[in-house]
Symmetry: C2
Subunit: 387 residues, 2 copies
């Protein structure tokens, strides 16, 4: 019999995350410059989060004026497609199908662009549609929330929910470019302003003690909605997230996923609260839980737990919610395992700025950690863990 | 404003195309050896082409026996999912949804396997479902036709049709492994035996004059269904195809696609004949057309055309079909262009074994080439072009 034919190649990916303000102001050349340069003007299909359109009622008109002013660089075949914001947009196939139909009707090809403007859910859904049309058309993300600008929007994943499972359908598909526009941050409601900071706490805990310390110093300004430290937080968090993707296993072929620290419980909490908890709010509780567990298990010094809970509280997060007590919570471990496959792999902390992986969790200790979160508040914490 | 964050990484892909016979004979260790080795037995979900199941009525039982004999290496959570063979399986979302639901019900995760057994259409559809479930579960292809074993099944593309457009939805997703089992070739009907050879003629014309000459020498044996030269043809064609993928632009981010020689007309002919023409049959006519055009345009010596038409005829292909005369045929150029995007890029021939690219086609000459194909047959050809 003939010997096997070996296939072996690497696919290079490259993109930039740009920082700007008023991206569709006619005098801002950034967006047009990303598309221009070819002999023909490429087509652009915009998908716009309804929540963003409401907070920025002038946006649709601005996009049209911008396209007219840059008609030599790109074409706008139709008005932006409006889609609902938030997790609901990922809960059915409808919106993906609407985008696909628009790509068909308007002849969006592999050298055209689908531009998603919105929060993480809208970008996840839009990115999925863009990734499967013609086996992937060019996709530009304009994330409008803290969470999307510092985490989900700068990475390589997309997806929608199916069969009651989060992100059951999706692909790994690096964007063509990402544009972080600070203008959008200013109209966020307080919950969305806050929620995205949970991913910054997470990545700092796993990768960068100095960044954690910086957040401790700036917690008050961040909680008070000062823009300048927020842009700083987004930049550093996005950078750490992207370095992690590039340095490891971008398409997650292995079982290790340190950036999912705190996420097994977070995913389950979102589901248990029917997505009344935002992703970042659930991640904050998940971080509090796995940090506490790390200490109870003897990996992390109790003082570390105090610092983490204090920072989360200072940023305005709850570190305990009643949904933690639902018996189904612990099934989140199994579901997290199934999504990833292979060996169960959970990241814990050994010190602030350094995570490590375990392959089993002591469920009695998880329950004890939940008890501690329920009963501990602020000043009690140090004594609570110093025993 | 802050400077852009640069993202830059490469994702390595590696897989093997194995050659074997009787892959699910209990004494053949190949399949189990591809899955084994982990601490836990991974799950396998089989998707089986109904045409293959009919031609090999023992196959489902063999797979079950094989799984029982190798229960230490993998688990079979359910019977194979039977799906219709041929292009129809790609014309609706139904079958993709059925596979996705099975992955959900049986807990197929990113370390489990979806195994597609069948012709190119079934593998394209199955590969697409496997690529979007959990952002990609492991996918093993067992191609059963000549076309799938030497071309579509060994590459990195998957997809289904939508909006009346071929492969409108899909992804680039390298398989985990491919198993070419010669057993399946022996039950192919004559059309499927023959059709797959068109891709071998194509790749030889564009890349390998010696392979073309080898086919000229072996045409009679290939047409007479001798297995040994067919395995040789499949091996060399698969190898050239895979080398091309690895050496160039695996995920087709540019506009160049030399392996689509003859394909603009082929895709349109399939559509115009409502898929009564098989893909390979249409590719044979598309090759005849673009080869003739290359000569009329003065790029290829007329003797080259004669050799190509004679080889196609010796292998049993028609080089002319009435559908070529339909006025809509020329729209195939535009549709081919739209699918790929960017600049229209068509491969022509300058000599046997060497293709080159053009960015426009002279439609009057295409029409003349069709006239030549209609009127020329066998021995007349040389004189027909020598004028």
């Amino acid at each position: 019999m003939k010997k096997p034919i070996e296939q072996n190649f690497s696919v290079p990916f490259r993109y930039q995350v740009h920082f700007t303000e008023k991206v569709f102001d006619q005098n801002n050349p950034l967006f047009a410059s990303l598309l221009g340069g070819g002999a023909t003007q490429p087509k652009t299909l915009f998908v716009l989060d309804q929540g963003v359109a409401t907070a920025h009622p002038e946006l649709t008109r601005q996009i049209r004026s911008y396209a007219e002013a840059h008609a030599d660089q790109f074409k706008l075949p139709c008005a932006p497609l409006l889609v609902p914001g938030g997790e609901q947009v990922k809960n059915q196939q409808t919106w993906v199908d609407a985008i696909l139909e628009a790509t068909h009707i308007h002849g969006i090809d592999r050298h055209s662009y689908v531009i998603g403007i919105g929060g993480g859910a809208v970008l996840d859904m839009t990115g999925y549609a863009a990734a499967i049309a013609h086996r992937g058309v060019r996709h530009i993300r304009v994330p409008t929330t803290v969470l999307a600008q510092n985490d989900s929007g700068v990475g390589v994943k997309n997806g929608i929910n199916a069969f009651g499972k989060k992100n059951y359908l999706g692909t790994f598909a690096p964007p063509y470019a990402v544009i972080n526009d600070t203008t959008f941050l200013q109209t966020l409601d307080d919950r969305d302003w806050r929620a995205g900071m949970a991913e910054a706490v997470k990545v700092a805990l796993v990768k960068d003690a100095a960044f954690f310390q910086w957040m401790e110093v700036n917690a008050k300004r961040l909680a008070a909605r000062e823009l300048e430290p927020m842009v700083e937080l987004i930049y550093r968090c996005a950078e750490l997230h992207m370095q992690h993707i590039a340095g490891g296993d971008p398409f997650e072929m292995g079982s290790s996923r340190p950036l999912d620290f705190g996420h097994w419980a977070a995913h389950k909490l979102e589901h248990l609260t029917r997505y009344e908890m935002r992703h970042g709010e659930a991640v904050a509780v998940g971080i509090a839980l796995d940090t506490t567990y790390s200490a109870l298990k003897g990996h992390l010094h109790p003082e570390g737990v105090t610092r983490v809970l204090n920072l989360l509280t200072a940023l305005g997060f709850d570190t305990y919610v009643p949904a933690l007590e639902q018996p189904d919570l612990l099934n989140g471990l199994q579901e997290f395992h199934e999504h990833l496959g292979g060996k169960l792999t959970i990241t814990l902390q050994e010190e602030i700025g350094r995570g490590f992986e375990v392959h089993e969790m002591d469920t009695a200790l998880v329950t004890e950690a939940i008890d501690r979160l329920r009963t501990s508040t602020g000043s009690e914490r140090l004594s609570c863990y110093a025993s």
